[in-house]
Structures are given as structure tokens and as C-alpha cells.
Symmetry: D2
Subunit: 465 residues, 4 copies
């Protein structure tokens, strides 16, 4: 644009236009490559992109005239602005990955979200992943969708094999899909405190039920210690051998290199049909979407076509903004920091535990969560004190620390889970869980340890009375 | 707050504090009554509310320390702001309507959305509705959820009875839930051009399949002319008599008094288990959520408990903001205007049609959509011209006008739909659909008619060559 | 950008790109013509523009490295966003209209503001105006700047002739510039209730002081009734004849056709060196800037060069956004509506006044403000009641209604103004002022009249006791 | 608010309300103490405050009815939001520090800005400062305002004594106020490369002009090397002795401890009537306001009363947000970092200079700016190359580095400044200026040095040809 040349020095205008051009190049590069940029985008650049995209949607056309039943009309100015004037959502009734003729901008958002999510999966270590889809629903619902999709190829099956993990929505995802969960109970490891599923149990269960009755095996990677990730490499081998679908619940495992390497390896030596992860837990966005990944494009296409209708673009917008804002280097840095903080937290917690004659449970295979015993309270039969510890932490604004009282049962949808929350009927002791998730700050660790010590000091002095 | 009294005149401060108090009263009243306010809230009032709510979520606590795997951390400042610092989503793993201990503010958003949606349902004319839940997924997916929920009470059923409507996601919602659709073909009305399902066909189909094999009957209220809403009052009677679930797809029917009155009446004289409507089509928000309503609280509770996990709060935030921004009077005014514009549009379109020896099909029972014949093109065997009309309109920035070419078939998931898009194998002529949806402006009608005339003029002169 | 062609249908992409192109054309046209667009811009279009402009400022350059003392660094993210990432302000130390090499985007904002303000002046009826500058300071300060500028050509002058208007900042603008105000007292018109300056008084004053001692005559167009605008056409003739600077305080007169026509005519037949108007009062923006206009480019250039340093761009951004958002048609419509409402309000107020044996003062030459007598309170010697009326209105959230108690004096900077607020030592009665300014809504008039009646009813019944 | 207790657990609601209460306490504390908070406020807290304040302004009253000429109406939604719905500006026509009855919220913003600015002045080291006012105009204009204010006490004076500094707006601020600048030429220091004013010159000038003719002495603290800050301690003593106003131009000196200590000391041992600093250069806000500080409340009150009219609140809003966002600790940390980076930059630049047989000029008393000689280019008579270096740096996105060519003159408002930009008719060599201002990042230094080396390499190899 040369229209201001009379007033503004041509040399400075040139420089300004160059700067603008380099912003547009960044944008073009993104639209072409659909990859997370190497370096962080600043907020202006992000707004640049969304201003461009919004102009492509028909509801923003200068002379738009809508005479249909769904025209992207938005009543509130606040709502318009918070969605950058995009309102058509993602997908078409036939396919959640489809482009909408009415909404080119929203369609590009959807493509970017899917492509950048796949890129993030690759960066995280699952390099063989072929395709993914970001679905604006919970992880549990996404697992349900996977099962509903498997059903199309195996309509007669009735059961899902599932290694116990005490997190309601995993269990409920099976029920929601209309299947009977066959629960594989865990075992305590011989050499340390870990809880794990065994391959023997799995094989016995398959044999008992019979392959034709089994829709899939659902394994879990990320979980609260002392449970550890399932041995999905060997499960994948068994599933491959027996021709059973294998669905991996990788809820917050994507943030961890070790887990990603295992998923990758499992897909190489065995069978992994889909792996499912939440966006909020792995990418620091508000709760809202789940990434379903696969090593075969056709599986993702099939799931995308299963979803009946259009869906909210909002969680995809969040993901795109966040990955642009992180850049590849920012994302990798956050992952590295998480690993470092995990070791750091474990060490510091061990020292604190020792002061109170407790210990951090030995769970070397769980690289996200850890657990500190509360044995003294058990031995003093003070389970009320244990519960109290939880609420003391919470009222001191510490959230996420989970107190597990030994041996309490719970009835869920007709099934009794003995030792609920500990994944096991009668674990050796009560304990306290903490996790090191992406985005945790070291000052949070320090503040937590200080508060925990205060609380323990109060409780232990009382409980020893 | 009395701290500035020294500088600011106490009288004006008093008035200012009074004004502030009246804003807070509005807010308190909303939180207590959970009803759409009588009058529109201004944007400042809406921001007042969300600023208050966001301070209640743990991720915004001044000294918050998070040591769990899901702490509401948000990386991007832009993302934070667009969600008003709310990040925990809605629901708990056990129940999408549950309050989250970590997120009181988000929990209130969820309650408000559900309560205000119910209020809107009542205002729309379905006064007996007892409960509803706003689910952040497509209408089709919400229908699937309803069916998955029915399955729990009728696990052996295999079929869903469905009166044909040529909208993919309705059909696919049945497949996604794992059921076989039993399609009820439509009939042309004796006295006019309407397409309708017949009760005889329904009763025959039920008899043939046998009640135990039928999960539910799925009826449709809002549809493109010449199809008309199903006779859900009598379907409801049959379902009640035979004890079959009845699911009403009320996608964009909530905006229409007539349709709402019918749903209400159906629930009084017969059986309606759930009725499902989109938020974007009825309330002018971006695509993102669906309201599932029922006349029995327990059904909604059961659906809410089926959903496995947390979900995006974003579409609920949009709904709350929009209903506050409309107020009851604004909402009712918009509905009234829609009705007036419908009559107006029909009349003007009839005049235009007459000019070209065409007519508006006689479909008095469809009060949202209408259709103008394109018979001359049929008789001249110019189906390519018909298709062209559609794209001419689109390139002139008219969206939503649907051109239906007589007698074209389509294969969807293994089933051939003859006369796809017209709900009928061989309708009497090709036609053009338009709809009068909430939020339509009269200048859009005028601009559309002008453009349509231009296009017809071009095509008809050409086709008559 | 052709990079998404593989996924998105080329036809719809084409349409989308066309829509985008038409947005960019609007923008290019604006930057080329620097005129208020014919029609309102939507908010997306406005954001489009500012996103483009912000990328042109050096602080937003992708690799910007600043090693100076002023680099446009902004600490707070909120502050960044509210200024669209622009931070360099306007002007250079030598000239407030100059372009900044570091800040092409901000410089364009400044040019746009000045050019669009001039366009608005033309549209308002002052078609001969040659140039203007938007200065981010109060109207009073802008008047001071004009006088400081005149001083450069007439350094020995000591007095400013000023027809009395009881608005502090006009008076103080003279003092701030270091001049002695020579106050011309007003006269009551023979035929009606109007207060006006007389040309005789002006000529006498000039003669008494001597032209060399007079810096300028400062006249006023917009004022509270019963004062009327000065007869600036004839003042302009006198100033031309005697070669005296003539400065017109047109504070909120720009919104009124009649006043603008007079200013225009004055410039044709006589001398008007500069006319000064506030942006907030004429264009519905927050308080912040003043437009200094002139019929000679050199005068504005000289004022622009007088201002020592850079200034806030924020009020200019507001003006640009607002004029884009109004469009020419919106702006003219608002002016027309104001005129209609003025007549309407006057009529309704007259009816109300008559009910209480009061009247609206006859001030046909004041086309913005009107006054209703409060004679009965005067005659009952109830000046406290009059004051009370003002506060009653204020506590009922009516602002802007000014109650003027007959004959109260005030000392300002050493000078006593008898009958302060009424522009006159001893006007015939107390009265109530209201004004019809641009943006007033008819429902405000109705609400005001209702409340006024309530208050009068209370006070008059009491005062007649 | 207890209205959600039925649904939300009372314990978590309690915690949420506690968190909300602690936010409100922060706000109350701020409004009571009007001090920069100890620690940074997060953005939510800042929005909390402004949402509260905006509700206090009459234009936001729920039933507001405005019948005046200035009612805070805002046309554009974007403009409303960017000003947090505040629109009344600051001050009244009588006093820019006055509270507006119509606008309690805006009035509080103004009070906060002034009080927090004073707090910042104290934190910066000028602990005796008694009062300040934030004026939304340039530093130069603020200096003009100070002089206009002094005029009221000394109407007969005609000259301002001013030690030369080659920055146009300082010089022009004197002219704008209507005074004749008496320029004190600088001397080169005996022991090093510094340029400084001498007290002898000052005393001679005073004697020559005569005290009654002198309005004030205007000194400068922050300046480009090799000029150094004026010896304001001794100037203050002289001004006190001779009873002459002393005005300190502290444009970007507030960020530097050393300079602040000197201003403080000067006020203790001598006379400093007002000291003036820009907000953008010292506090990382967009260009827009200036802080005028004084050691006597009455001086500030008098300046505040001089300003005729209301002014933009926008730059004050920026300042308040920014100081809240920094907190005391953040502000002090930024200052500390600046000091460290200054030493660092100087050392690195010296090393680079040495490589090219140049040096960093010895100017130990200038603690913000430094200068590197370009002597080789001088000796090769390559002044075009020197100019070229400047533009090479600029086109590589380095801004703020100033290249000064030896001995070029400039005519400004009728006065020739020999050796313009170097503050001196014929400095010993050409040189390059850089400054270390608050907010500079060490990566900027490194990038600059790299680019400078590249440029020097190109130019010196060429110039040595």
C-alpha cells in the first residue's frame, strides 16, 4: 500500500511494510505447513491470524444475506469478540473433519488444530502417529466414541477388557458405549510398591470371554501412583496376535517422554488402534477437547465420520492459539522442565517424609505421580485424620493433592470397587498423592511442601497424643 | 467502601455506591433465582458477573498451589481472557451437571446455563418441561447420548424408528449409537404439497419389528419444506400406549411457538422422553451446544450421569451471556419478529414466484421453512441450471438458500436415499428452500429477493432459449 | 493464499478470498482517501485496520532491538491490548502532526484522525475549513494553545476580549495563556428572553484598549440558554476590519447545522483564525481531545509546531474508530435526530412548564440548550428549594439538568462574576437548563420529564405551603 | 452470597468466597492507601478493580438519564471496552485534580494515578517529594505549563535560563510559553570527555539579565552522552540564594537512582520548584502523560488549577494498571536490572570499540546514555559513512542508536545550534549513542552488538579503502 507515501518517509514506510510482510509470511508459512512454528508467536501475530481467518467466514462477508436456518448469527457483541467473530463451529453433519463451504476460516482453524496436534504428538515422541482428530468433548466421551466406532466392525461383541484404574470417567466410558467392563485386577509388584496389571490375567480373561465377545482391550498410561502405566507394549503384542482392538487411554501421558516412547514402541511391535489424550492436561488450555490419535489414517477418518453433526470450535481455537504461543521450543522447554521438577519434587518429598517416619512409595515406573505413605495414621487407626489432612490442604489453597484412605469401598453403577481410589482392594497403607504436570512451577512445590509440613506437624502431634 | 470520602463528595459517592449496589443486586438476584432477567443486561453488567465468578475458581485463588494433574493452568494470556479466566470446564467425571469443588465459579456458570435454558424453554411455550441439561456437543451427538441412555433400560433393543428427514446427522446419530434405523417413508398430503409421516406407517412398523426390538421412536419438528413437522402429539399417544421411548428432535423448533405448543401438548396427552435442540439455531450463539430437555427430572439426571468426564464450559458461557444480554423481553421480541417476518417473506416470495409462473408450495404446517417451485426448469430438463442457481446465489453472498433438484439419489452408510434432500423419492418438482430463523433481518429478505430475481431472470431467459 | 486448496473447495475458498479482498479494499480506500467511509464499518473491519497498523510500528517488528531511551516498550499485557499494540503516541518533538520514523502505524492513525476530523467538519457544514489538528487536550487548553500561538505574531498584546460565558475553563484558558481577560457583559434582548453580546460593546472595548494591546477576540457559539451564540459573523467583520485575531470557541457547536453555517459564513465575510471544538461532546467519544480548525493551513501548521513534544494517540484512536463505526450516513443521521429531538423536547417541556405556571424561556437562537423558568420559587423566596431540585434530579440519576439560582455571585481568580452560571448579574428569574446533545435518546427525554414532574410536584406543593 | 448453597458444597463455597474476599480486600486496601501494592497484581485483579470503578460513573448507572451537553455517551462498543466503560476523563474545568460529581470512578482513577505516581517517585529515591500531578500531555508541554504557572507570580519576567541540550521539545517548551531562552553553552570537562554546564556561566547570565527579568532556570538531568546531567544541587543553591524559580527537566531520569538522589539532595540544600518526567520513558506505558512533581503541595495545586478543562483519563489508566501489574517489588527489580545492564553494556561496547580502534567516551556522570567514538571515519572525512551507519542499524530493526556527525549546524526557530545533536559547537569527534532504559533486555544488547559489529565491519573496511 503506497497511499501514505506523501507524508511518511518512503524509507521508514519500506521498513514498516517489510515488518508487516514478515508477519504475513509467518502466517502463510503456517497455513501452508500447518506445523507448530519453531519459535513462539507474539500475541499480535496471533491476532493477525485470527483477523484474517474471521474475514473468510460467510457470516462476516460484507454483504452477507442469510436465509437458512443456521447462518452464524451471533447476538452478543461480547460473544462475537471472544470467538474472533467465528461462529460456525467445526465439521459438517457428515464428518467432523470436513470443511464447511460457509465457513472457510473456521474450517482452517479445524485443519490447523488437527495438524498442529499431530505435530505436537510427534514432538512428544510418538513419531509414527499418522493422523489425529481434536474432538471437543471429554477424554471419557472420546473413549466412548472410539468404542462406538469399533462396534461397527465387531457388532456382536459385548465386553471391554479394562485394567482397573480408579478414575470414574474411564469406567463410565465403557458403560456409556453400552459395554460390560471386564475388570482386570492389579497386583503389587514383588520388588517395590508398584501396582500393575499382569499379562497373565489379561490372557486368562481373553480366553474366558472368548475373542468374539471382546470389543477391545482398554489400557491406561497415566495414573496415580502407586499404580503404574500398563505394560502396553506387551498388551499390544497380545492384541495383535489375537486380533483384538486395543485402545490406549493416554489422558495426561502425552506430556511425558517415557510414556510416549512406550506408545510408539507398542505400535511398532503390536497393535494400538487409537490413543486418547486430553488437551487441558497436556497443553495448558481450558477443559474442552480431546485428541484421538492413531497409527492408521482410516481409523481417524472413520471416527470423524461417526460424530453426528457440527461441534464447538472454541477448544480448537484455544489449542491453536496456545501452540502458536508456545512454539516448538517453548513446548519442548516446558516438557523438559516438567521432568526436572519431577525428580526435584520426589527428592524433597522424600526428605520431608523421612522426618515423619514415612516414605515416598517406590514407583519408578510412574513418572508423573508419586505417593507418600501415611502409615503412622493407619497404625493409630486415625482414618478421620487422614481425611482431615486433605481438607486442611485444600483450605490452604493447595489443590490436586489427593489423600487416599486405606481400604474404603465404593459402589459405582452396580459394581463395588474395594479400596476405591487406590486401584486395589487393600493396599498396604494410606497415602498422599501428588503429581508433576506440565506448567507446574517450582515455587508451587516449595509452597506445597511448607504447607504439607505444617499440616503434618499439626496432625501427627495430635494423632500421637 | 468509605475510603475515598475525604476527596469525593459524600453525596455523589453515595449515589455511585447506590448504582454499584443496584448492579450487585441484579447479580445476586440472578444467582438466587437463576432466571433470565426481565430486561436486557448491559455488557458492563455481564462483565461484572464474570469477574465475580472467575474469582471463585481455584486457579484464580491468590495463593493457589496446584500439585495435581489438572489444575486449570492456562498458558496463553489471550486464551485466559477469552474465557474470563475460567478454565475448569463443567461437570465432574461422574456427572456433567455436578459442581466441581475446585471450581465454584465454573460450577455456577453450569447451573446458570441449565436453569436459564429451562427458563427459555418455558418462555418458548414448553411450560411443563421439568429439567434440561446443556451439553457441549452437536444436536446429533446429543440424540446419540439420549439413545445410549435409553439403552440402559432396554439393552436388548436393536432398532430405532425414524421418519425420514434428509439431514445427515439425524440419521447418523442412530448409527453412532449402534442402532439400525427403521425408516418411515413420507407421504404427500392429499390437500396440499406437504410431506408428512403417517401414523399408520408407524403402527405397522412397530408391529412388524415388535416392541421389544425397538429402542425408541425418533420424531422431528423442524425441517425443510415441503416436509412438515411430525404429528408428535399422536406419536406420543402411541408411544405411551405401547410403552416405547419417544425422542423428539427439536433442532431449531424451539424458536417457534407453534412447534413448542405441540411438544407441550404431546407431553400432556402422550409420551415424550426427551426433546433436543441446538443452542446456535435457537439462541444466536456460535455452534457448540445442545439442550436436552425432558418432562421428568430423572431422565435428565440419568443422561447427565452418562456423560463420562468434564466438558467445555465455553458454549455454556456463550448461552448465559446471550440470554442475559437479551433479557426476557428481548428474547420474546425476537420470536415475535421472526413470526412476522415469516409471513412477510412468504408473501413477497409468492409475488416473485408468480412473475415466473412458479409458486410457493402450500405447506401451512411448516412455520419456519418454505419452498418455491422451479418447475419450468424441470419441464425444460435443465437440472444443471437448477444447480447453477444455487451457486449463483452463494457467490452473491446469499447463504442458506437450498436448491433441491428433483429425484437425485444418495448412498449414505450403505442405504440409498432416493430423492435425497427432498425427503422423498420423487417429489413433484424441483424447488428452492428458504427459512426464517430467529435473528433474520428484513433487509436480508429484501436483498435476497432482489438477488433471486436477478438470478432467475438470467437463468429463465437462458433456459427458455 | 493458495495453501489450503487441497482441503477446501476452491470455489468456496474463492468466495472467502473475495470477501477478504473486499475488506482489504475498504482499508486501502480509507488509507488513500482518508475520508469517513460512506457507510458504517463493522467492528471486525475496524480490528482489521488496527491489526494492520500495529504491525507497522517498530516496537512490534519481529526482531526489534531498541537501544534508545524511548522504545515503545509496554509492560502490561492489558495496556498493550487496549492500545492495539500501538505505543509511540503521535507527533515528534518538532511538530505534533509529524510522522514518526519509528512508528509508521501510529503516524497513520494521526493522519487519519486529522483528515477524518476535517471531513467531519465539512460534513457538519463548515465546508471552507482548510485544515485541522486533533490535539489530545481539553478544549480550554486548546484555546490556550491558540492564544500562545497568536502571541508569536503579536508579542506585545496583553488583553483578550471575551464575551461573558459562565463556564470556567473558557475564562481560565485566557489566564493560563498569560492574558488579561476584558469581559464583555451581555444584554437581554428586547423582544425575548435571550442574553447576547452586543457589537457596540465590542467596538467600545476595542477602542478603549487599543488594537495593539489586544491579542484576540474570543467568541462562543455553544452555550446554556438563555445565553445565545455570539454574533460571530459581525464580530468576524470587525476583526477583519481592525486586523485583530478572532478565536471561536465552538465547544459543542459542531453538532449543530445552524452554528456551523454561521461559522462558515463568518469565515467568508470576515475573519476567523481558528475554531475549537471538543471531540467528546460532538462525536460521542470519551473525554480526551479537541479539534482545532482553521480556514488557513498555515495557522494549523503553526499550532502543530508550537506543541512541544509527543502526545497520547489514545483519543485519536477513539475518534478514528468512532467515525469509522458511524460512517457518513450514521453521522448525518445522528445530527438529524438531534435536531428533531430538540424540537420535541422543547414542546414537551413547554407543556410541562405550563402546568406549573412556568414557561420555557424564549431563546430561538439557542438550538442546543433551553431553559424553563422557576419563577414561582423565586417569588416565594425559596432559593433553597431550587438548589434542592437540582440534587433531587441528580439522585434520581438525571444528570446534565442544571438549576440556576437567580443572582448568586462567585469569585474566580480575583474577579467577581455576579449572577454566576446565568452569564448575567441579575437575570429575571431562576431557571432549569437542559440540552439536546448528539446521542440523546427520546426515552431519556421521556424519563426526564416524568422525573422532573415528580420533583416539581413535590417541591411546588411544599413551596406553596 | 449464599444463594447457591443448595448445589455447591458449603465448604468449597466458603473457600471460594474467601478467595473472592481476599481479592476485594486487596482492592479496598488500594483504595484506602492509594499506594503501589507490595506485590504484582494479576490481570484478573486489575479487571476486578476497573469493573468496580466503572460502575461508579454516572454514564453506567442502570437508569441513567442525561440531558446535558456532556453525558459520557460513547458510540462505539470497541471504544467503550478499551476504556473499561469509563468516559468522563479527569478533572473539572476548575482543576485537573478535582473529583467529578458525575464520575466517581474516573475521579478515583485520577486520585490513584496521582497518589501511585507520588509513591513511585518516593520509591525511586526522591523521598521528600510532597505532591505530584499526572498530566495527559507531553513532557515539553508540561514544562510549558510549569512556566505558565510561574508567570502568575512573576508576570514581568521575559527570559528562561537554559543549559543547552539538543532535544527540540525542551527548547520549544520555552518558546511555547512565550519566553526568550537564554542558552548556557556547555564546556568539555578537563579530565574526561564529558560536556557540562558551569555554574560560572549561570551566574554571569543571571547577573547580565538581572533577576527580575528571569522567569526561571531550567536544568536537565537525563541526556545523551557525552553531555552529563546538570549540577542541579549547586544550581538549586544559587536559585535559592537569588530567589529564582528552578524547573528540573527530569524526562527519563526517574528510572535512575543516582539522578533521583541528586534531585532529592538539591531540594534539601537549595530550591527546586518542580521536576518533570515522562510516564512512557520511566514506566513502560504508551506515550501519553507527564508527571509534574514538587516539594511543595501548593505548587502542584496551582498547576492543577491552571489547566483549563477536563483531560483524557486514558494515560492515567495505563499508569495505574502498569504500577499495579508491577507491584513495588517488580518496579524495584526493573530498576536494579537496568543498572546492571548499563555496566554490562558499557563493558561489552568498550571491547567492541577497541577492536576498531575506537573507544567509549569517558562520561562517568551519565548513567543512562553512553557514546562510542567514530573517529576513524572523521579522520577519513567520511561523514556520509557515519550517516549511513545510522540507517544501516535502523534497517536492521535496531532503533534508538543515534549517530552524531561532528559539527553540523541546525536552525531552529531563528536560532542556529552549531554542532546540533552533540549539544556543543564542535565536539572532538563523531560518535554513536546508545542508552540503557528501563525494560531493556540483555538479548537486545547482544543482538545490537552483533549487528553493530557487522555494520562497522562493512563500513570500516570500505572507509579504509
Amino acid at each position: 500500500m503506497n497511499q501514505h507515501s506523501s507524508v511518511i518517509l518512503s524509507s521508514t514506510l519500506l521498513l514498516a511494510e517489510e515488518a508487516k510482510a514478515s508477519r504475513e509470511n509467518l502466517m502463510k508459512q503456517l497455513l501452508r505447513q500447518k506445523q507448530i512454528p519453531m519459535h513462539s508467536w507474539d500475541d499480535l501475530q496471533i491476532r493477525y491470524l485470527f483477523t484474517y481467518l474471521s474475514a473468510l467466514d460467510s457470516n462476516n462477508f460484507p454483504n452477507h444475506t442469510g436465509v437458512g436456518e443456521r447462518e452464524g448469527r451471533v447476538f452478543s457483541q461480547i460473544v462475537k469478540e471472544r470467538h474472533f467473530y467465528l461462529s460456525h463451529g467445526i465439521g459438517r453433519s457428515g464428518d467432523i473433519k470436513s470443511s464447511q463451504p460457509k465457513a472457510t476460516g473456521s474450517s482452517i482453524v479445524s485443519q490447523l488444530a488437527n495438524a498442529m496436534a499431530l505435530h505436537a504428538i510427534h514432538l512428544s515422541g510418538i513419531r509414527n502417529a499418522k493422523e489425529c482428530v481434536v474432538v471437543p468433548c471429554s477424554t471419557g466421551m472420546a473413549l466412548t466414541l472410539c468404542m462406538l466406532n469399533f462396534r461397527r466392525q465387531k457388532p456382536a461383541a459385548s465386553h471391554v477388557l479394562w485394567s482397573r484404574i480408579d478414575q470414574k470417567s474411564c469406567f463410565k466410558s465403557i458403560l456409556a458405549a453400552g459395554y460390560t467392563p471386564q475388570i482386570l485386577q492389579l497386583k503389587i509388584d514383588d520388588n517395590n510398591d508398584q501396582l500393575k496389571m499382569t499379562l497373565e490375567d489379561l490372557e486368562v480373561a481373553i480366553e474366558n470371554l472368548g475373542v468374539p465377545n471382546i470389543l477391545c482391550v482398554m489400557t491406561t498410561t497415566s495414573c496415580f501412583a502407586p499404580r503404574i502405566p500398563d505394560d502396553i507394549i506387551n498388551v499390544a503384542k497380545i492384541c495383535k496376535r489375537l486380533n483384538v482392538f486395543h485402545l490406549v487411554n493416554n489422558a495426561y501421558g502425552l506430556q511425558c517422554d517415557k510414556i510416549c516412547n512406550i506408545v510408539e514402541e507398542a505400535s511398532r511391535v503390536g497393535r494400538v488402534d487409537a490413543f486418547v489424550q486430553s488437551t487441558d492436561k497436556n497443553f495448558m488450555v481450558p477443559v474442552g477437547a480431546t485428541i484421538i490419535g492413531s497409527f492408521e489414517r482410516s481409523i481417524i477418518d472413520s471416527i470423524a465420520q461417526l460424530y453426528p453433526g457440527r461441534a464447538s470450535a472454541s477448544p480448537l481455537i484455544d489449542l491453536v492459539i496456545t501452540l502458536l504461543s508456545m512454539g516448538q521450543d517453548g513446548y519442548l522447554e516446558l516438557r523438559k522442565k516438567r521432568k526436572t521438577l519431577f525428580d526435584d519434587f520426589k527428592q524433597k518429598l522424600s526428605i520431608l517424609a523421612a522426618k515423619y517416619d514415612e516414605k515416598v512409595l517406590s514407583t519408578p515406573k510412574n513418572t508423573i505421580s508419586m505417593a507418600m505413605t501415611l502409615s503412622k495414621l493407619d497404625s493409630a487407626l486415625k482414618s478421620a485424620e487422614i481425611t482431615k489432612l486433605g481438607s486442611m490442604l485444600f483450605t490452604r489453597q493447595c489443590s490436586g493433592a489427593r489423600v487416599v484412605v486405606k481400604g474404603q469401598g465404593k459402589l459405582i453403577e452396580g459394581i463395588i470397587f474395594e479400596g476405591w481410589m487406590s486401584h486395589y482392594p487393600n493396599y498396604t497403607c494410606s497415602y498422599l498423592n501428588v503429581a508433576v504436570a506440565i506448567g507446574l512451577e517450582s515455587r508451587e512445590i516449595d509452597r506445597f511442601l511448607k504447607i504439607l509440613e505444617d499440616c503434618l506437624c499439626k496432625i501427627y502431634s495430635r494423632s500421637s497424643e
